[in-house]
């Protein structure tokens, strides 16, 4: 009996324990559920918050874009609206000034001149503001053409001479006689120079204003505008390129101007792949130095971070020589030929530059101070990164075998013959991969001839017999360079070029026009603005064509994004 009661009690305890455990389990489950629900809720509200915030940000961004667009549009239309009546003010005052004296009271002329002058000043302001807003909005167009430097300089000088004379200043234009041509946006360069010169005339009285120009090693042209005017303090100098920051507010009152000219000048320089530097001694005068690439290539497009690292059009050569004279003898013919030339006086510098710049070739004088040329050669040839760079040794007679043994590609003896140097360089410089050239011409025999010429240089060639086919070939794969005929049935070369320049992927494609068409001056100008080179059939030599294509292949090779072989 007793044990049955015991068992019953135990059973009862066990049952209750089970129920208690079940109740606890249920409670725990509910807790977990509640916690999960709270977490879910928190998560949802976080997501909602993020979504909301994202929407707000997107709206703010769209709004900012719209506002910026609206600002540009407003400025553009406003300036148009302002210009139209201004045109009338300037035009009618000029018309009155053109009246013969018997029809007009001569004492009114000075007043008319003031009206016209004020109108022109206002027009200048509007133009500056429009320019700056276009630059800001990325809408400033560039127009590239080849132009004669000396002609541009004398035209600019003629324009500013009356301005210079106004404050009793003298003006001097200084440059080497054979500056040659440069290929850039002529209008922008003219405006840069005019801005700097008019700035100089404003701040100089009874002084001297000088405009000078020269070519620099590395295919750059340098313009310098200096004056003996009031100069600037360090603080003024630091802010000189900021918009609306003439040295101080009183400057505007005393000297006029918008305070935008230098900001625009700097922007233009950057757009052209160059830069402007100001230097000044307070009370003594100021000097502005502008450096721009002699040939604007799409590869040298304005990427501010890369300024100062412009690549040469046809290749970079490193000259390692301890003698200044020796370096000059080597560097000059090279940069004249269009190479970008780097120089190092010693082996340490030479190796550093070789690593940093990966030149296309190295010219090495074996007698070098800190370690001899043989050691440099050995170090170059045992460095995995550098061993592929061809080295041309400059040696004394009888040392050439040792040079070849150490891996030199070519060999020169002093005194240097520039022609021989260039030939050697052309020989050692080979593109790593065979770039492909697209030839678009409807004439079979022209295509054949071009193909033979190009293949001989180690390039691969694709052909297209019409403009349409040319565009199809382009769509298949962007070539390194395109040779384009103009006169083709249906889609002609102009049209192909227009499409190419309007298509983002091909905008930078180097195009050489090969044509037998008689080009008008304006066709030529238009083509020069859209193509890299224009060769007239029958008028160019084989070597000219090859040189043009090689330069473009080289330039393209340096722009990794464009390197799309096949």
């Amino acid at each position: 009996m007793r044990s049955v009661e015991q068992l019953e009690r135990r059973l009862e305890r066990e049952k209750r324990a089970r129920k208690a455990a079940e109740a606890i389990a249920e409670e725990k489950t509910r807790e977990i559920y509640d916690t999960n629900a709270r977490l879910q809720e928190l998560n949802n509200s976080l997501e909602e918050l993020v979504r909301q915030r994202t929407t707000e940000l997107a709206a703010a961004r769209d709004e900012a874009v719209r506002a910026s667009q609206a600002k540009s549009d407003f400025l553009a239309s406003m300036s148009h609206e302002l210009r139209t009546p201004l045109n009338a003010i300037i035009g009618y005052s000029e018309m009155l000034l053109e009246e013969p004296d018997d029809l007009m009271r001569p004492e009114l002329r000075p007043d008319l001149q003031k009206i016209r002058g004020a109108g022109k000043h206002l027009l200048g302001l509007i133009n500056d503001i429009l320019d700056l807003s276009k630059i800001e909005a990325g809408k400033m167009d560039l127009f590239f053409e080849a132009f004669d430097l000396a002609a541009l300089l004398s035209e600019v000088s003629a324009t500013v001479e009356p301005l210079v004379a106004k404050n009793g200043n003298s003006f001097e234009l200084r440059h080497e006689p054979d500056l040659g041509t440069m290929s850039s946006d002529q209008t922008k360069i003219r405006q840069i120079l005019l801005n700097l010169l008019s700035n100089a005339t404003k701040f100089t009285t009874q002084g001297r204003i000088t405009l000078s120009a020269r070519r620099l090693i590395g295919n750059r042209v340098e313009f310098e505008v200096s004056d003996t005017g009031i100069g600037m303090t360090g603080d003024q100098l630091a802010a000189i390129f900021q918009p609306f920051s003439q040295a101080d507010a009183s400057t505007t009152r005393n000297y006029g101007g918008t305070g935008l000219g230098l900001a625009i000048t700097q922007q233009f320089c950057r757009m052209l792949g160059g830069e402007v530097i100001a230097d000044s001694v307070y009370g003594k005068g100021s000097t502005f130095t502008v450096t721009v690439p002699e040939v604007y290539t799409y590869a040298s497009a304005p990427q501010p971070s890369q300024l100062g690292r412009q690549r040469g059009a046809i290749g970079t050569v490193l000259v390692v020589d301890d003698e200044r004279e020796g370096t000059r003898m080597l560097a000059e013919p090279l940069s004249q030929e269009g190479y970008r030339v780097l120089t190092a006086a010693g082996g340490t510098d030479g190796l550093r530059l070789a690593r940093e710049e990966k030149p296309d070739a190295i010219i090495l004088d074996v007698i070098n101070p800190d370690f001899d040329g043989w050691t440099i050669l050995r170090l170059l040839k045992t460095d995995a990164e550098l061993c592929d760079i061809p080295v041309i040794l400059v040696t004394m007679l009888g040392e050439r075998d040792m040079g070849f043994a150490l891996g030199a590609a070519e060999h020169l003896t002093k005194p240097i013959n520039p022609k021989e140097l260039l030939q050697l360089l052309a020989r050692v410089q080979r593109p790593a991969t065979a770039p492909d050239i697209l030839v678009v011409d409807d004439d079979q025999s022209t295509r054949d001839m071009l193909r033979r010429m190009l293949v001989r240089e180690g390039w691969t060639v694709r052909e297209a017999a019409s403009g349409t086919e040319g565009l199809q070939q382009l769509a298949k794969a962007t070539p390194a360079v395109m040779l384009l005929d103009l006169m083709m049935p249906e889609v002609d070369g102009f049209e192909v070029l227009r499409v190419v320049r309007q298509t983002a992927a091909w905008r930078d494609l180097p195009v050489v026009i090969v044509t037998s068409k008689d080009l008008s001056r304006y066709e030529l100008e238009w083509l020069r603005g859209h193509a890299m080179d224009v060769l007239q059939k029958g008028a160019y030599s084989r070597s000219e064509l090859i040189a043009a294509v090689r330069a473009m292949v080289e330039a393209a090779r340096r722009t990794p994004s464009r390197l799309v072989p096949g």
Binding site: Q6, R10, R13, R16, A17, A20, A21, A25, K28
Partner: protein, 184 residues
């Protein structure tokens, strides 16, 4: 105190003495819980003290001896109930030094309200562990039993010196455990 201590205690009593004894002490104790325990529940620790003291009266064995014996039994049960706490542990010192930083942390994940004693470990002398037990409850003898059970589990022999740190209250003690066959 966690329910598992109670359920294991009653099981030990059933096994070591008899189900009769277990039934009786529950009956006599007349506890708020009515002796109904589940491992996942939590119960007042005084019920344990009461159960042990009634068992002591019933069997004539002193309370501390019962506590120690229960501790040893409880440890052996732990090793079969919670093998995961034994993974990768190959010595008593190794296990004991895990109690505070690992096992108690895991227990709190499941039972945030659990009031656990603390076990401070000092292993600065080779071959010796100084383990300091601190609790709000007087279960130092139970802790000693657990330590002994642990040594037994790992097949180790050691001398245990006990320093009472709570003036006979049993809530705090230092166990100096010296491995007997420890290499010098």
């Amino acid at each position: 105190m966690k329910g598992i201590v109670f359920t294991e205690f009653l099981e030990m009593v059933e096994g070591a003495f008899s189900p009769d004894v277990a039934d009786r002490i529950v009956d006599v104790a007349d506890l708020p819980s009515g002796g109904v325990y589940t491992t996942v529940g939590t119960y007042d620790h005084t019920e344990m003290i009461r159960l042990v003291s009634i068992l002591s009266e019933e069997t004539g064995i002193p309370i501390p001896d019962l506590m120690r014996a229960f501790g040893e039994y409880l440890f052996s049960r732990f090793s079969s109930l919670y093998p995961k706490y034994f993974d990768g542990v190959d010595s008593a010192f190794g296990f004991l030094s895990n109690v505070e930083d690992y096992i108690h942390v895991e227990v709190r994940k499941l039972y945030p309200e659990a009031e656990l004693p603390s076990f401070g470990c000092d292993l600065s002398r080779p071959g010796t562990m100084r383990l300091t037990y601190r609790s709000s409850r007087p279960f130092a003898p139970l802790a000693e039993g657990l330590i002994r059970g642990c040594l037994t589990h790992f097949g180790e022999t050691a001398d245990i010196e006990i320093e009472d740190l709570s003036a006979g209250a049993g809530t705090s003690a230092r166990f100096v455990i010296t491995q007997r066959d420890a290499p010098q």
